[in-house]
Amino acid sequence: MELILSGAVGVLAASGIWLILRPRSFQVIVGLCLLSYAVNLFIFSMGRLTPGAPPIMPKGGFVDPTLYADPVPQALVLTAIVISFATTALFLVVLIGLRGLTGTDHVNGKEKSEA
């Protein structure tokens, strides 16, 4: 399981970084999305991988913490997903604005040959 998860993080991060460095604005935004998926999985894995363990402990009495998953990274991941979702949406609006104002989807607002 560790191998699959780390492989997924690696592949997502690598494709994300490659796409961010591309000249088209849509590629950049997809790259940022993939990178944020990679980061979210990474945060999740920081709580250690425990299959089938609930994150919420019952109230009262002694509980063995080793039987439960760490809830903090799950909460962090939720926050991170919400924030990256919102900022990506905002970024998409700027992308469309740039496309509309410059007539090109190059990240610099002009084609390389014109520079």
């Binding site: 980061v39 900022t87 992308l95 990240v107 607002g109």
Partner: protein, 546 residues
């Protein structure tokens, strides 16, 4: 009530910003007064908090106050921490926000929608980032201030702003992802995100985990360095800051200081003398990057052709010199140097803010702001929209405003060049004194830093005087109309800089106390756990009732 004052700088702009969303965007007068009263309230509270931090230290206490959010005990819940450094930053933010808002009233606030709400949300993020004592909460407040800054940067729209905004958002989103990686790695190694808790644990981390922890802090540091505008992560900064509308540019002057603040707070807390085997981690990198940033800004000023680019490059110089001093402070450079740097940081934020406010009135040829705004509206394809009022600009005009403007300009130049009697000189002398005292291997590097500090002052003087002569002396046209609302903020900033000279001893005493407190991390690191939830009394009371 009194202990809840700490959270007020976050709640007031939050409520004010949300309230203004309910009003139609044409109700600008109402919105302006709501914003102004919100910011003035923040300023008063921030001053109150500074007094509290100061008196707390002078009466034998540590001068640090903790506020447990949701009344959870320290490592479990999120804490807000008020110490001398954060109180000082709150006052600086509120003051800069006051003058920027008044300046925006001269006409800029009409150039887009939701200006006032976004402005307040920016303040939520800034105040929150200065107050929080939790790493993930710091991330959240960073995102709040960044999201607001994306909107504000695009304020006024237009091709230049949208293009600069696109780069700015892309870079900051990537930096935020690095921030998240760093934070989660730190959590993975130590199991806590509370800064005070981390400071306690840092010397006890298992040797096998330490490289991972260092890597985590390094990744986190990269995210902060992007915000601080450190070379080589700063190429976005000049064009972004130039593209921003003038009052926004002035607010952006403090946004780089958030990055500096985070680096200062975290590095001294984690890698100060109590850091055990990690003590001094990252110091050499900070010094090297600081020097490179200063050199880059220095060359940038000399190459710049307009005042906007010079103003953006002075931001870089200010960041660079602060990074150098933080690096030397980590190596045990002493409190006096850090105190001088903090003093310099207050002044340089005010001076660069003043420069950003001066950019537009100084470059205005004729026809005043009305012509300029008409031009921008035309260029941005908004010509179909007629101006709502007869007069685009508001407030009384001053025919001979140029001499007043020149006065404000001179104060900013004298500060940035580091000439007496302004605080730029006092701050630089304090920093250089500290750097001279550095001996050993680092001595030569300290001398290099001194040279850069002095040369950057010279470069700022050359670049700014050149622009000043072109604008104020060789300009034979009739001076364009300036509005009182544009000149007053610049003069207020200049007056604040002069006040810093008059009150230099008191200010330096405060920053010295701050620097001492930053070095003695135990008050911060253990104080958080001494803070008890406030509920115990109330719950006892309710339990007692039938």
């Amino acid at each position: 009530m009194n202990q809840h004052l700490i959270i007020a700088p976050i709640l007031i702009p939050f409520v004010a910003g949300a309230l203004m969303l309910l009003y139609d965007d044409r109700q600008r007068v109402v919105k302006f007064w709501i914003s102004l009263s919100s910011i003035l309230a923040q300023l008063l509270i921030a001053i109150q908090l500074v007094i509290r931090a100061k008196i707390g230290a002078e009466t034998g206490g540590e001068g640090i106050t903790f506020y447990l959010l949701g009344n959870w005990e320290a490592p479990m819940g999120i804490v807000l921490v008020l110490d001398r450094l954060s109180a000082m930053m709150l006052v600086l933010t509120a003051f800069l926000a006051t003058v920027s808002l008044i300046y925006a009233r001269a006409g800029w606030h009409r150039q887009g929608t939701y200006f006032y709400s976004l402005f307040q949300f920016l303040l939520v993020g800034l105040n929150g980032a200065f107050l929080t004592g939790d790493l993930f909460n710091l991330f959240v407040f960073f995102e709040v201030l960044l999201a607001a800054s994306y909107g504000l940067l695009l304020h006024g729209s237009g091709q230049v702003r949208v293009r600069a905004g696109f780069h700015y958002i892309a870079i900051n989103l990537t930096a935020s992802l690095l921030f998240l990686i760093g934070v989660s790695l730190i959590y993975g190694v130590t199991g806590t995100l509370n800064m005070a808790h981390l400071a306690n644990m840092i010397s006890q981390v298992a040797p096998a985990d330490r490289p991972l922890l260092h890597a985590a802090f390094a990744i986190l540091g990269v995210a902060f360095l992007v915000k601080a505008g450190s070379w080589p992560l700063s190429f976005w900064l000049p064009s972004t800051y130039m593209a921003a509308a003038a009052p926004i540019g002035a607010m952006f002057a403090i946004m780089t200081k958030v990055g500096i603040y985070a680096i200062l707070r975290l590095s001294l807390l984690m890698f100060g003398t109590t850091g055990g085997p990690s003590a001094g981690f990252g110091a050499s990198v900070l010094i090297a990057l600081g020097m490179a940033t200063m050199l880059f800004g220095l060359l940038g000023i000399l190459a710049a052709e307009n005042i906007g680019r010079i103003a953006a490059n002075t931001v870089l110089i200010s960041s660079g010199s602060l990074l150098i001093v933080i690096g030397f402070a980590l190596l045990g450079g002493g409190e006096a140097m850090l105190a001088g740097a903090l003093y310099y940081m207050i002044g340089s934020t005010l001076a660069t803010g003043a420069l950003f406010l001066l950019v537009e009135p100084m470059e205005r040829k004729d026809g005043g702001i009305a012509a300029l705004l008409a031009l921008t509206a035309d260029a941005y394809g908004m010509d179909a929209q007629p101006v709502e009022d007869d007069s685009v600009t508001e407030g009384p005009r001053i025919g001979y405003g140029l001499p007043l403007l020149a006065g404000g300009f001179i104060v900013a130049v004298l500060f940035l060049a580091g000439l007496p009697p302004l605080p730029g000189f006092i701050g630089k002398v304090a920093m250089i004194q500290g750097l001279i005292a550095v001996t050993g291997i680092w001595g030569a590097i300290a001398w290099g830093s001194i040279a850069l500090l002095l040369l950057s002052g010279l470069a700022a003087l050359i670049g700014l005087v050149r622009i000043g002569i072109q604008t104020f002396w060789t300009n034979e046209e009739n001076p364009s109309q300036l509005m009182a609302l544009e000149i007053a903020p610049v003069l207020a900033l200049a007056a604040a800089l002069c006040m810093m000279t008059v009150k230099a001893e008191a200010t330096l005493r405060y920053t010295t106390g701050t620097a001492v407190a930053l070095h003695e991390t135990s008050a911060y690191a253990y104080g958080v756990f001494a803070a008890r939830p406030a509920v115990t009394n109330t719950s006892a009371k309710t339990d007692g009732q039938p």
